[in-house]
Symmetry: C2
Subunit: 214 residues, 2 copies
């Protein structure tokens, strides 16, 4: 094996950076060439160091992993990107996967597995954590079945239905007739199989169709 794999670590947690570096330095064919504490610094480091792969934490101050990854992907597409995240699989994964980010691992990954993942990604394979893969597949499939497809307008009205406004007041807000709002509301109740406005809003919240701003 010739040149070692050059690695850049981007994470705002100092202990995570040190821990990753320690684990990776145990491997003779891996070389940690730099560390950065946020996306902005990481972007500069990646461009000057031109590592083979960057390990990027998803949540960071100033510039998060998503923004950094997407930016780096455009400017330096040859640099591989491995996203690191907590135990929860963020919805942003889907955008990242769609953008062609090849690696996605949770922080509780076993060191040996992480090393394996790095090798895989550097050699052009994609490495997705099982949970991530599951989430991606979930989001791919249930498009067709019965995911209760509200139109854009209906979704907009539904969000207003979660406020104290009456239909008349919502109509004023959206610059349409009250009858139009009532018409949309009727469609919404029918599609969601709910008996009234209150239950429709509750059901929508449970299924993450809308979220409450508190």
């Amino acid at each position: 094996m010739a040149d070692p794999i050059r690695i850049l670590i981007v994470d705002d947690h100092a202990v995570v950076r040190k821990g990753l570096a320690m684990v990776l330095r145990l491997e003779p064919d891996l070389e940690v060439v730099g560390e950065a504490e946020n996306g902005r610094v990481g972007l500069e480091a990646a461009r000057s160091l031109t590592p083979d792969i960057v390990l990027v934490d998803l949540v960071m101050p100033e510039m998060d992993g998503q923004e950094m990854a997407l930016t780096l992907r455009k400017s330096n597409p040859l640099i591989k990107i491995m996203m690191l995240t907590g135990t929860e699989v963020d919805d942003r994964v889907l955008d990242l996967v769609a953008a062609g980010i090849e690696g996605y691992v949770l922080k509780n990954i076993e060191p040996v597995e992480l090393v394996r993942a790095i090798h895989a990604v550097v050699h052009g394979e994609a490495y997705l954590h099982p949970d991530v893969m599951k989430k991606v597949l979930e989001r791919m499939k249930p498009q067709q079945p019965h995911a209760v497809s509200l139109t854009h307008r209906e979704l907009e009205v539904l969000e207003w239905m979660a406020t104290p406004n009456t239909y008349k007041q919502i109509a004023v807000q959206l610059n349409v007739s009250e009858e139009t709002i009532r018409s949309h509301a009727k469609s919404i109740l029918e599609k969601l199989h709910q008996p009234n406005r209150a239950q429709a809003v509750l059901a929508a919240m449970k299924t993450k169709l809308i979220k409450l701003n508190g």
Copy 2:
């Protein structure tokens, strides 16, 4: 300074354990005497090693940090406990603080600050991360002012108001007259300062007065 502070690290992420250990070993008066990958193992280790302080991750498989902390607090109250958590301040903090856990830091803490926190806790002080302290204070204050005190019966009716049932149907369920339910509902809306049933239910959910069973 005589004996070093004996530390046990409990975290399911190997890289975090190594990172913490590395950072802490740089301090001459700190000694990492053990590591454990979950609460169950951590509990055994704590009892056999009797460290001065345990650093415990909140989220772990098998037995999480909360359960381990509460159990250890009962069996070995002299061992100090420092909870570690991600960037999000979990609601479980409040229970832990109430149980007398003296330390609570986020994982993005600076190494120097972590060392300071360990010293503080070992010497009998409490060390709460600013965000945690904020959360605790938030939850403490709104107790007294006027935490919207609904009667038991009103709370019961409020929970029914979150269902598709009409007042008449709720009345049947609770074996009282419809007028009684309407009367309670009026009091509830007034106390919660909400214009209608739907908003009352939403407001109640936001303030954790009731929870949705989905």
